[in-house]
Symmetry: C2
Subunit: 472 residues, 2 copies
């Protein structure tokens, strides 16, 4: 694709549509919008202009202009993404939804909320917790990510074993199509088989098929009670075997089953100066159960604890108060940070495999780690088979070598996941970062169908071009 | 579209691909495949040939031949559909998956099953119940429908309030595309954001985007306990108001919340010679809770019962044993049959509205009923806002008049649902039956996007043409 530059004339037209204060060209400001949470030096790219529209109508007008002038448009939420999805790889316009940040409605009778895309995910829950409700689309970046980005990436997180991922709770979307039409998809209805499920196609499409300008999300009864269990196992295999056992023999679907290998928990404990009893363990599970009645939640925790001990767990620690729970989760949340002290250059991955294949995956990761002389701590959502294998640059290697090593190691990591029936990404998406691997590793027929959908929605390939795949 | 006839030469090629016994041309046999559960005289159409392939490879070869010769192909499951989705409107080939009926694998460690499309939904659950597992994609036609059709229609049913619809449990699909490629979408991984969610696009696409040849479905712990409550309310409004109350104040998501208006329950009780205590009630809710511990389920039922009485329910009857539960559900299941005694000609609808809009919808339905002098009993899935408003032909009117009345009344019914934020179909789909209404009532931009997707998957428009929409 050849795109045109954002000329002074186009800037004038943008100012006419949006007002001067919503058209940013100051280089210092542009820099902020040139990257997400992936390394700026590897994936960053400056936009020519950043716009901050306030309505679907404004966005529609901008998209029509962009089509006419062949200017790429990259929609952007909070910039907390981990695949480069919000980076304007071809320059052009970054369309930030930061000013569309209103909770438009809380509808208690239908248990739904209507949100603008720039609402911070966590503030959704702040708004409704007193009414005994919550929104379960709950990524780990819940305190920073916008709901629009959360939906565009179909984010997962630590509660997905029980509650599923964000997409399950998206009932309606208003989008502006790449060609500038405003469309309502779905609505406040919990079932709908009126033609193809375009709403669900937009969910997880990384801002390549439409710009989300409104979302109707489903709410659930807020669980009032929870218990966390920290369970130590001698090895990864015994830890992972607990997942189906808890569900079948225990009849319990925990809120989350998080996994930490020894390296992860050790580094995080050292970093936090925390003293969890992990020393003897080869692997640790952090299992959370929640519910509405103390007794039920305690019973579930007890059942799980007993099953773990029966299946050879070394020890089960119960965290049944908020302070201890916070301590334990803090260790889980700070693994990435802990490794940054050792080496700031990392590749945070989120490969996914069938749950039962995790024990087979681990030796493969060890091989890759040894072969390339990099540490690869593994932690993440065991209950979903979704692992944050994180490639940590050896501090001794120079950057050029690291980039080469990273690419080779990632390729082998993804291949290992695919070989076991898994795939590249469980919650972070493809974006720019994993595009070349997508091209090499995903069935070309499947990729071809995706490209056809993209072309039929976006004939000029101007909405977030280059993400997931490049169009020829 | 102009299609070519199935000539003797093409029949020979089909026999070569599939063997003689899998190519049916006997007119008596073809008749069986000319209709589903919609009225044959309105929607039925004879195929030119019926084929019963045994593998994705055979289907792939057939699709390539069909593209070459421009012969329409209509995939078919058990024929239990309610929208004409499996009817060969343009003749050509009906591709029945009845011989692809094997359970290929039960994977207890991953809590998944791999199924061929011709497996009867209920037999999935028979296969696994002893292991304490179940498949929650559970339409009311569970005893007859095939899993392939269940997925293609994204069926709902009586347990969707708690468990959601079929699509939630579909982890992987093997499909043959309209152009004859075999593709694996998803797999045994519970999270996947590797590009567009094509698997979920196939779910509910009514056999227009691909032929499902294999499905990997997710299993859940089988609930061992259940209690049903039959709750009488003075009017529909008080009944429906219970839905959010149970979820927020009770903190409980029941398995199902079924609704029956007075006319429905009366006719069904008369038909079954059953004596449920409905006489004083303007509306009845049938609320089911399930779980793994007797005490928990009984507590939930008690909480719900108390909330209902507090909010003005006339009476709460508890069905805590299988016999009484069966009696109550039998009434719910036999409503349609009961009305067939009165008049065999009906239009069974499944409009869906936001849950809280049901009370507003009911007077609209009463108006339509009076205006056209037809009975319209209403029952269905109140917890989903999904209502089986059923137009029952007045026995005195002739068929020609009934067809005209039906069309006008349906148009008004769908309009009423749309006006309240609802839509045409919550679980039966569009198929042939609702296509003209889809065209008139759905946003043309949304419909246009669907058509573009169809064209990009099926450039010759040979796979189940004329369903959902007609391509120009």
């Amino acid at each position: 694709m050849k795109y045109n530059p954002v000329t002074g004339k186009i800037l004038d037209q943008l100012i006419e549509i949006l007002g001067e204060k919503n058209v940013l060209t100051d280089p210092a400001k542009l820099e902020t919008y040139s990257h997400d949470e992936t390394p700026i030096e590897q994936y960053g790219h400056l936009p020519e202009v950043v716009i901050t529209p306030s309505s679907a109508e404004e966005i529609s007008t901008v998209m029509k202009l962009a089509n006419l002038e062949l200017i790429p448009v990259t929609p952007r939420g909070a910039g907390s993404g981990l695949s480069g999805g919000a980076i304007p790889e071809y320059g052009g316009i970054v369309l930030s939804v930061e000013k569309m940040n209103q909770v438009l409605e809380v509808d208690y009778n239908n248990l739904m909320m209507t949100l603008e895309p720039g609402v911070v995910t966590n503030s959704v829950n702040e708004e409704i917790k007193e009414k005994g409700l919550f929104f379960a689309g709950y990524p780990m970046s819940v305190e920073s990510c916008y709901i629009g980005g959360n939906i565009a990436e179909n984010a997962g997180g630590g509660k997905a074993v029980k509650y599923g991922v964000t997409g399950r709770y998206i009932m309606g979307l208003e989008i502006v199509t790449p060609t500038g039409e405003i469309v309502q998809l779905g609505g406040k209805r919990v079932k709908d088989v009126t033609g193809y499920d375009l709403k669900q196609l937009i969910v997880g499409s990384e801002g390549t098929l439409g710009i989300i300008t409104k979302a109707i999300v489903k709410l659930l009864p807020l669980p009032t009670e929870k218990v966390d269990l920290l369970v130590l196992f001698k090895d990864i295999k015994s830890a992972i075997e607990m997942v189906p056992t808890i569900m079948t023999r225990g009849g319990i679907i925990p809120t989350g089953i998080e996994f930490m290998d020894k390296l992860s928990i050790k580094k995080s404990c050292e970093y936090l100066n925390e003293h969890l009893p992990y020393q003897e363990a080869g692997a640790v599970l952090l299992i959370e159960v929640d519910g509405h009645k103390v007794q039920e939640v305690e019973d579930d925790a007890e059942t799980i604890g007993e099953l773990c001990l029966e299946k050879g767990a070394i020890e089960v620690y119960v965290a049944d108060n908020r302070t201890t729970q916070e301590r334990v989760w803090n260790v889980r949340r700070n693994i990435a940070e802990a490794f940054k002290v050792f080496s700031p250059h990392q590749s945070l991955e989120d490969i996914v495999v069938p749950i039962a294949a995790i024990p087979e995956l681990m030796p493969e990761i060890t091989c890759i780690s040894k072969k390339y002389n990099i540490q690869i701590p593994c932690y993440g959502h065991a209950g979903d088979g979704n692992l944050h294998a994180t490639l940590v640059k050896n501090p001794d290697t120079d950057m050029q070598e690291w980039y080469q090593t990273e690419e080779k190691a990632l390729y082998e990591l993804y291949q290992a996941a695919l070989k076991l029936g898994g795939t590249l990404s469980g919650e972070h998406g493809i974006g720019s970062k994993r595009r070349k691997f997508m091209k090499e590793l995903i069935d070309p027929v499947e990729l071809g169908l995706m490209k056809k959908i993209k072309k039929s929605f976006d004939p000029n390939n101007i909405l977030n071009p280059g993400k997931i795949f490049k169009l020829e």
